[in-house]
């Protein structure tokens, strides 16, 4: 409705809502949860959402104005990071595919951080080929009985709800037989175990689902539409990942530069040249992110918006490998030790040392789409090259070889 308003009127609408919110709930002195609740009620949680659902029905770009104003006024926008899967991905899914009752039940408490969400997509047998997933959901009265195993689940141990994709029809081709649910993580039969990674930490979990009963009213969209809903989730994941641009010299390259500055004589021209190669590529990547943002804002997005993930992942590995070489003997050590703990924040949002980054970077080219998958996407969707022939096309999911 309000999207038909002129941009200046939309901005005024947001500004007025902000002023009223700040009057009733001064950001600096209001309890965070209370403030976020009032922010939701004022339509300033996701400004593009409808009135009554945390939004004002205006252009999503105006959200930045809201976030900046809250930060400047001494309030907190930390809920967005702490519950990133819910606020960044779950909410758009509910807004697009959820019923009014589902939106009313889940949007507000996720925004206030009273209910943390996780994403139950990947499985041991379904990584890059997500649509091959095997976790089954079988109808039983007005509930569904779910069995299977999910993996690489961030925040599962602290989550109240999970976005779950299941197989509801094994007799049709894989994309057609999936259904999307919101899973109560406290339901009987849900078992969460930390998954220790090569850093010794467990940012992720494994989740076993054994005869878990999910009420049908927690189904999102129609039976068999799970793939479409999952794609809504993932497209918002890529938007969420690509938005912050570091200052020049910041990010991973800073660690290599610092390692170089700590070298005693700095008289190795080969190392110096390699450092500059990596510096230049980091800066070119950063400039590309700036260019992509500008083009996106101008309504003219191009291929420059699609190459960042691949470049970032591969560059992080190259920079940290080089950094470890630079520090020489120290590179044989692992100063933080292998702590076998579950950090509260994902490692991609924490400030870590070179040693940790060196190990953590190996995941960068796997998580959120492996570099091989990213290259397929660039090749097929951006360059227009033909796809690989698929061995699983048009055959029932249950007949697809697995292993």
């Amino acid at each position: 409705m309000s999207q038909t308003l002129a941009p200046t009127d939309q901005q005024q609408l947001v500004q007025e809502a902000l002023d009223a919110l700040f009057d009733s709930h001064p950001p600096a002195s209001t309890d965070h949860v209370e403030f976020w609740g009032a922010q939701y009620d004022a339509g300033l949680a996701w400004v593009q959402f409808p009135v009554g659902k945390g939004g004002l029905g205006v252009n999503p770009r105006l959200q930045a104005l809201v976030n900046d104003a809250i930060t400047e006024a001494g309030g907190s926008v930390a809920n967005r990071r702490r519950n990133v899967l819910a606020i960044g991905m779950g909410a758009p899914v509910l807004a697009t595919h959820g019923t009014a009752a589902q939106q009313d039940q889940w949007l507000r408490p996720m925004f206030t951080n009273e209910e943390i969400w996780c994403q139950l997509f990947s499985e041991p047998g379904a990584g890059s080929d997500l649509a091959g997933l095997a976790t089954s959901a079988v109808p039983e009265g007005d509930t569904w009985v779910v069995n299977g195993q999910k993996v690489w689940t961030t925040y599962a141990h602290t989550s109240r709800w999970g976005m779950l994709v299941t197989r509801t029809d094994p007799d049709v081709p894989k994309h057609a037989g999936m259904t999307y649910f919101v899973l109560d993580m406290q339901a009987p039969g849900v078992e969460v175990k930390p998954l220790y990674q090569i850093t010794g930490e467990a940012e992720f979990n494994e989740v076993w689902l054994t005869d878990v009963h999910v009420p049908d009213e927690h189904r999102i969209a129609e039976v068999g539409e799970g793939w479409t809903v999952a794609m809504t989730t993932l497209s918002n994941e890529r938007v969420a990942i690509g938005s912050n641009i570091p200052e020049r010299g910041e990010g991973t390259i800073r660690h290599a530069v610092e390692a170089w500055q700590a070298v005693e004589h700095r008289d190795d021209p080969v190392a110096r040249d390699r450092l500059m190669q990596l510096w230049v590529e980091s800066e070119a990547m950063r400039l590309t992110a700036i260019r992509a943002n500008e083009n996106r804002k101008a309504g003219n997005p191009g291929p420059e918006g699609s190459t960042g993930k691949l470049q970032w992942a591969e560059l992080n590995k190259a920079i940290t490998e080089f950094g470890m070489d630079l520090i020489g003997d120290e590179g044989m050590l692992y100063p933080p030790g292998y702590a076998f703990s579950s950090p509260e924040l994902s490692a991609t949002t924490r400030d870590e040392g070179l040693h940790q980054l060196y190990l953590r970077a190996r995941a960068n080219s796997i998580e959120g789409g492996t570099s091989e998958i990213m290259k397929n996407i660039l090749g097929e969707r951006v360059l227009g090259l033909p796809g690989e022939p698929r061995a699983d096309k048009n055959i029932p999911w249950k007949e697809i070889p697995r292993g």
């Binding site: 020049r248 530069v257 170089w260 500055q261 700095r266 021209p269 110096r272 040249d273 450092l275 500059m276 190669q277 510096w279 230049v280 590529e281 800066e283 070119a284 990547m285 400039l287 590309t288 700036i290 260019r291 500008e294 083009n295 291929p303 420059e304 190459t307 691949l310 470049q311 091989e372 990213m374 290259k375 397929n376 660039l378 090749g379 097929e380 951006v382 360059l383 227009g384 090259l385 033909p386 796809g387 690989e388 022939p389």
Partner: protein, 360 residues
Amino acid sequence: MSTITFTTTEEHGLLRETAGKLLADRSPSERVRELMATDDGFAPQEWAETVAMGWAALPVPEELGGAGYGWTEVAVLAEQMGRSLWCAPWLSSAVLATAALLSARGELADQLLTALASGERRATLAHRSSGLRWDGAALHGTARFVLDGGTADVLLVPASSDEGPVLVAVERTLDEVATTVLPTLDLTRKQADVAFDGAPGRVVAAGDAASTAVERAVRVGAAMLANEQVGGTARVLEESVAYGRSRLQFGRAIGSYQALKHRMADTLKELEAARSAAYHAARALDGDDLHEVAVATAMAASYCSEVYERAAGNNIQNHGGIGFTWEHDAHLHFKRAKTSKLLFGGPTRWRAALADTLGL
């Protein structure tokens, strides 16, 4: 450092479109091959046509008969030229010599700028020369690898003198000037050695102004070349993609094989990063932050050189046997890419300069 932006104007779009169309028409493969087989390496009437459109005048101030734009606009042209391997004394005269003269300014420089912008004359800069000597009245020594050194009307030559460095303008047709056209790897861009045997000339700049003019011209040249390299990279990637879609082996389009597809995706990734570096370098040259000019030009020169070289090499591989034939254009880009990489000293040199600039 001022805020980095890549905003473009309507004029940029128009310039890109006009140049793209004109060059597609005037510089198709057959024409490139005709011109590269000549000694001069360009067609004076075609050069005159583009000069009449203002292509040599873009960065020259209006009071000197120029268009009063900047290197950002020249870069738009450069990218299109790189796509089509345009054979013209553009880089030598409208970029290198023009940039040196714009840095030097003064009566003589201004006269020359007007003449270059109008197309009345063509000049080049002997930017690779060393050891030449100006005795106060005449120039001695040999300048090597001079771009279009066999055809330029005026040669701008850096030399040493009793009063320090000088930049001297010498008429190429003098008896005391002998040019030897070089057998270049890249036939689309001609080079010559030029021997000066007591050739008279006029001093364009002296002292620091002379060194600054040459350094500035090399940075401008490298940045414009980087934009040309971006155009070349985009072109060879398009050729690879088109071939990957149409060439069938084992009953499949070869572009469906990940070995080829992933290589092209990597090229795309590098192309977009190179594009950012090249565009930014041109914009930095139009600003007044010298530190940023040093950073941005060194980045663009080193990165875009290597990206184009890799892309042009991959393009041959992506085409298989046909890509190794003289008949196919893949080698033209491959040779242009290698030469462009080496023309201003090569990536290693640029990265060392960058490290100095950054204090690393």
